[in-house]
Symmetry: C2
Subunit: 226 residues, 2 copies
DNA sequence: TCAAGGATCATTGTATCCAATCTGGCCATG
DNA sequence: CATGGCCAGATTGGATACAATGATCCTTGA
C-alpha cells in the first residue's frame, strides 16, 4: 500500500481510449479540428503513441455524443453543423437549461447567488479575450447548474454547450456583437433566479439562450465539408 | 459449404458492430438482459458469430447512450436505474417532448390529427398485452413527433423513451394502474394539440409524462446489481 | 484532349494475440 | 477458527495482423 501507488504506465490512471477521447474533444472544442475535417484513426493513434483501436472506440463514442460523424467504410469526420442544426442545439439547450433553472431557483442559497455574481464579474472582465470569455461564460452557467439536483440533465446541457462551442468561438473572433450585452443579460438571469419564482427563472433562461443570433454563429458552419 | 464455417454471410450492408449494437439494444429494451447483468464481450461475440472487437465498440457506444455502464477493467453491466434516475429521465423527456409538442401544435394538419386518433384507438385496443401496448404507445408518441421539425430533438426523446422502456415493461407486467387511464390521458394530449395553442400543448404534454408514477416503475429497478 | 477503366494505395473493419487486471478459492499461519 | 497472502482461471484493455472497401491516379483508346 506504499510502493504501488504510482505505476510506470505511460498514462497514469488514464486508459488509452479515455486519453484519445479527451484529446479529440479538446481539439474539436478549441476549433483546432475544424468541422468537416477527416479524422484518420491511425494518425491520431501515432500522435498519442497508442494503437488505432482505442482511438476507434473514442471516435465511436464521440460520434454518439454528436462531435463526429461516422460514414460506413469511409471514416469519421468532425461534425459540421449548419445553421439549422446549430439553432436546434441552442433550442434544446434553452429548453433543458431553462428547466434546470426552475429547479435551481428553488434550491439556490445566498452563497450560490454570491458565486454567480462573482462569475458574472469575471465574465465582464473577460470580454476582451475569446478563450477567456468562453471559459468564464462556461463557468457562469456551471455555477448555477451546480445547484441543479439532476446530474444527467446537467451533463446533457454541458454536452450541448460543448458541441456548439467551436461555432461560438469562431463567431466571437470576428464579431463582438454577441459579447456586447453579455453582462446585462447574465445579470438578468441572476435576478430572475433570485426572484425564486420557478416560472420566471425558466422563462428567463429560455429567452436568454434563444436570444443568441444563430445566423452569426453559422457564418462558417457549413459548406466546408471535406 | 455449410457446417464447417459458421460465419458464411458477411451480413450484407450490416457491419458487425452495428449488428452487435442492435442486438444488445434489443435485448436490453425487451428486458431479456436485465439491469445489472454483467455483459461479457466474448460471449456476445460468439453468440453473434463475430469477434470480440466490434462487440467492444458496440458496448462502448451503448455506454455513451446510457444503456450500459463501463467499469474500468471490470467489464460492462446493463445500466440499472434507481428510482431517482428513472424519475430524472422521465422529467427530461417531459421537458423535451413537451417543447416538441409546442412546435407540433403549430404545424400539425388534419391528417396528422387523424393519424393520432387512429394511434389512440390502437393504443386502447392494445391495453391487454404488454408488448403490444408498448409498441402502440411508442407509435402514438411517434406519430406526433413526426410533425416536429427538429430531428435531433426527436432522436433524443426517443433515446430516453427507449432507456426507460425496460422499467415500464416490468411495471406493466405486474400492475395495470398505468394502463387504466391511458386512453383518456392520451386523448387529452390530442385535444391540447388540436387547440393549436403552443402553451397549452407544451404544458399538457409535460403534465402527461410527469403523471407517471415513478415509484411503481422502480419496483425492481435497483438492488439487483450482480 | 479527354473520358473510361483498371491498378495501386490509403484507410477502414475485423480477427487474433498478448499483457495487465480482477476474482475467487486454497492454504498457511496466528 | 479467523485472517491474510498467493496462485489459477477468467476477462478486459491494447497491439498487431489481415481482409475488404473506397479513393486516387495513371494508362489507354477514341
Amino acid at each position: 500500500m506504499d510502493v504501488a501507488t504510482e505505476r510506470q504506465r505511460p498514462d497514469p490512471g488514464q486508459s488509452a481510449q479515455a486519453l484519445a477521447h479527451r484529446y479529440l474533444v479538446d481539439e474539436i472544442r478549441s476549433g483546432r479540428l475544424a468541422g468537416g475535417t477527416h479524422v484518420v484513426a491511425d494518425k491520431v493513434a501515432q500522435t498519442l503513441g497508442v494503437s488505432r483501436m482505442p482511438v476507434r472506440e473514442a471516435i465511436r463514442q464521440l460520434a454518439s455524443e454528436g462531435f463526429m460523424t461516422i460514414r460506413s467504410n469511409r471514416g469519421a469526420v468532425v461534425t459540421s453543423l449548419g445553421r439549422d442544426e446549430i439553432a436546434e442545439l441552442y433550442e434544446m439547450r434553452a429548453v433543458l437549461e431553462a428547466f434546470a433553472m426552475r429547479l435551481v431557483a428553488e434550491r439556490i442559497d445566498r452563497q450560490g447567488l454570491d458565486e454567480a455574481e462573482i462569475a458574472l464579474q469575471r465574465l465582464d472582465r473577460a470580454r476582451a479575450d475569446v478563450d477567456w470569455f468562453i471559459t468564464a461564460h462556461d463557468q457562469f452557467h456551471d455555477v448555477l447548474l451546480d445547484y441543479c439536483p439532476r446530474p444527467r440533465l446537467v451533463e446533457e446541457i454541458r454536452r450541448i454547450r460543448h458541441a456548439t462551442e467551436p461555432y461560438l468561438r469562431m463567431t466571437l473572433r470576428v464579431s463582438s456583437t454577441a459579447i456586447r450585452n453579455t453582462t446585462r443579460e447574465h445579470a438578468e438571469v441572476i435576478e430572475q433566479i433570485r426572484s425564486r419564482d420557478p416560472d420566471v427563472a425558466e422563462a428567463g433562461m429560455r429567452e436568454h439562450i434563444l436570444r443568441i443570433d444563430v445566423d452569426e454563429l453559422s457564418v462558417r458552419g457549413s459548406g466546408k465539408d471535406d
